[in-house]
Every structure is written in C-alpha cells, then in structure tokens.
C-alpha cells in the first residue's frame, strides 16, 4: 500500500512537472533573437528593450518575422552631399519649436566620411533641457529591397561628450513619425555610424515593429542630434553618406 502511494505521488509529480515544463528534458526555450544594431554603445539599451518587448508577445501567437542576421554585403549611398544638399534642410516646422535648435545647413568640404564633402549643421544646444538639431529630407522612397538604413555623423574634436544621434523615418499614408529606439553616442573627433534595421520584425524603432509595408513607403528621413539636459554646445556637426544596405 505504501509502495502504491509513493508510486502514485511520483506519477502525479511527473505529470505536473511535464505540463509546466519543469522536467529539464528537451530543448531550453530561448527568447527570440533581437535585431543586430551595429553601434555597440546602443546595443545594451536596445537589447534590454527588445527583451522586454519579446516578453510581451503572447506565447500563443505565431512567431513574428525576424530580421536576417546575415552580414550586410552591399550598400548604396543615397545622399553623399558632394556639392549639393540634395534636398536636405532644417524643416520649417522645426523653426517654430524652441526645443529644436538647428539653425543652418550647408555643404562643407571641411570633413567627409565619403567623397570630399558632407552636410554641416550649425546648432546651439543651450543645455538644461532636452533640445535637438534636426535635418530632414522629404522624399518618397521604397526601401523594401534593403535591410538597413545608415548615416555617418561627426562631431568636431572640441565638442563636448554627451550628444547622441538617431535616425527618424516618416512612413506610410498617415505620415507616421518613427524614431530609432536609442540614440547613438557621438564621440568628439570621430565619425559615428547610425544604423537601424528596416526589415520586418526589427526592434530598432520606438513603438513600431516594422511589417512588410513599413519600408515600402518612406516619406521622410531625418537625422536628429540630441542633448538631454546636457551637454551645452554651440557649434556644428556633420552628416555624410546616408545609405541603405542589404
């Protein structure tokens, strides 16, 4: 009788643990892999947010599309600023906003990440509040053939540490304003590459996970350099080689 009770208890335990996945047998469930964001400084932040978002996805839904992990082997430069701003500007809507501090944009041959010239943006970040210098181009683009969008941003060597840069897309019929999840820290005297996946399932965008339609109808590309309370900086930054890759 005692043997029967022990055996029954063992069977019940085995049955319950099988249901709740506690047996330790079989493959361990891994969280879905997040997209690869090229900037190392941004990776930790993005991974954390991505992990949170993965946790929010109900287990019962079909797995969402995931960006490819394959390396980018082909890039195409859309804007190299060789002698022409190519339509980039400080938008008129930003001129009326006190927290948008970009004042002027010109082509410059002072520095370039590709070719001989780049886009020089003059901005006055006062510090003490969130402010940003934003430049953009309004152009209807179908980027569905590509996997990433990238741009190079440079701060002069005498600029302070603490500014960050991100890409912003305006997409679709509703002109939805879609920011990158995190800003890429800009190191004075160095080019930084901002990179974000535009593939379905990408976690590189704030409050939006791209679907198949996302990259088909891009209407604006913006680059925003931000000071979040600090630092204070009255000077220039440079943008070059805005490109897509696959």
């Amino acid at each position: 009788m005692r043997y029967f009770r022990v055996t029954t208890a063992a069977l019940v335990l085995f049955f319950v643990s099988s249901i709740f996945g506690l047996s330790g047998c079989g493959e361990k469930q891994e969280p879905a892999k997040t997209s690869v964001v090229k900037q190392e400084a941004k990776a930790a932040d993005t991974m954390t947010m991505a992990a949170q978002k993965v946790a929010e996805i109900p287990q019962t839904t079909a797995p969402a599309a995931e960006p490819s992990q394959a390396p980018i082997t082909e890039e195409r430069t859309f804007y190299d600023f060789e002698g022409d701003l190519l339509g980039w500007e400080v938008p008129s809507w930003a001129a009326g906003k006190t927290d948008h501090v970009a004042k002027e944009v010109v082509v410059s041959e002072e520095i370039a990440s590709k070719g001989k010239s780049s886009m020089k943006v003059t901005a006055d970040f006062p510090g003490g509040s969130w402010t940003a210098g934003l430049v953009e181009i309004q152009q209807f683009l179908d980027l569905s053939k590509y996997r990433v969008i990238r741009a190079d941003v440079y701060l002069p060597a005498d600029a302070p540490i603490g500014l960050k840069a991100k890409l912003i897309l305006t997409v679709g019929e509703n002109w939805k304003f879609v920011e990158m999840n995190g800003g890429v820290p800009l190191m004075p005297g160095e080019w930084a590459t901002i990179s974000a996946s535009i593939e379905p399932g990408s976690y590189d965008w704030k409050r939006v996970i791209p679907d198949e339609e996302f990259a088909k109808d891009i209407r604006k590309i913006a680059i925003r350099v931000e000071s979040n309370n600090k630092p204070k900086y009255d000077g220039v930054f440079y943008v070059d080689n805005v490109r897509v890759g696959r």
Binding site: F78, G87, E89, S92, Q138, Q139, F140, L141, D142
Partner: protein, 200 residues
Amino acid sequence: MKKVLMALIVLGLIFVGAVSHAEGVQGQETVLFDFETGLQGWEIPDWAYEKPDHVQTDMQITDKVASQGTKSLEIMAEFPGGRWTGAIVEIMQYFDWTDFSGIACDIYLPPDAPLGLTGKMILTVGDSWKWVEMSRSFALKPGEWTTVQADLRTGSIDWRRVTVDDAFRQDVRKVDIRIESNNKPAYTGPIYIDNVRVIK
C-alpha cells in the same frame, strides 16, 4: 629648336583638349523647350481647370525673365494657403530618352514671392499612361532660378512608386511641371519656367 617645337606641340595638345572638353560639357544637355518661339505645345490641361486644388489661371510667353535666351513660360496662379494646392502645366508629346540620363528644368519666382513653394516634374509613361511624380520637390527661392532635376537611369530613386528601368525612359508621353503650396504659403502671382532639357 627641338625644345621650342616640343613646347608648341604640348601647348597645341592642351588647347585642343580644352576645346574638346568644353564641347563635351555643352553637348551633355539637349534643350527641349526654351519658349523662344512660343508655347511649343505646353498648356494648362483641361482636367486641371476642373480641380479646385489646381490653382493656375493662365499661361503665356514672356520676356520678363529667362534662364536661357530671352523668353520663358509665365504661369499665373492663386495659391490660397491653408490647404494643398498646385499649379500645373504640361506637354503631351512622345519622347524616347534612352540616350539620356536625366531631365531638368528651371523655375523662377519673383523676389516678392513668399518662401515655401516647391516645384517638381511629373512624367506620364508607357502604354498604361502611368502618372509618375518625382519622389521629392525642390524648394523655390524668391528672386532666383531653381533647377529641378531628376535621374532617369535604371535604379533611380527620383521617381515615386515606380521601378525605374530602361523601359521607363523609352516611352515618355507627357511632361508636367507642378508648383505646390502645402498649406502654406498663400501667393498670387506669376511663376516662370524655362529651359526644359534632358541630360546625357
């Protein structure tokens, strides 16, 4: 003597090279419409008169300003502001631009016009008469000629909702030029167009 002869030959070669280079640059553009002899087929399309958001009222040839020659196309328009409106002119003509890589035109706003108007070109292409707008507009600066240009080559990103291939530029059926006010500014006055051209 030999040195002098050699120097002359070198100078001659440099001169010939410079002349041929200059001719090459000139030869890269072919002017399609300079409006020196009239409207050359350009018109305000009938359908545009029926659309309340199309605000061109008249067009004529003028010698007030020109980016090439002495005359240009003057369009009168009344942009009310507060909503999107456009002023459009077009020519219906079959073109095969296989040998060309780009298209351009010049647009001029008087100095007293406001900032904010933009210009773009629109092509109607192929058997289906597909309406293909440029993917971006060019900001027009009052008192200046602005060149609006677009790439016609395969893979161009300058055209909206179309895959640009060789067939695209081979069968162009209409060319439109549209000046736009997107909510602002309001403007009543002339706009000038000149030197519609293709580029090798």
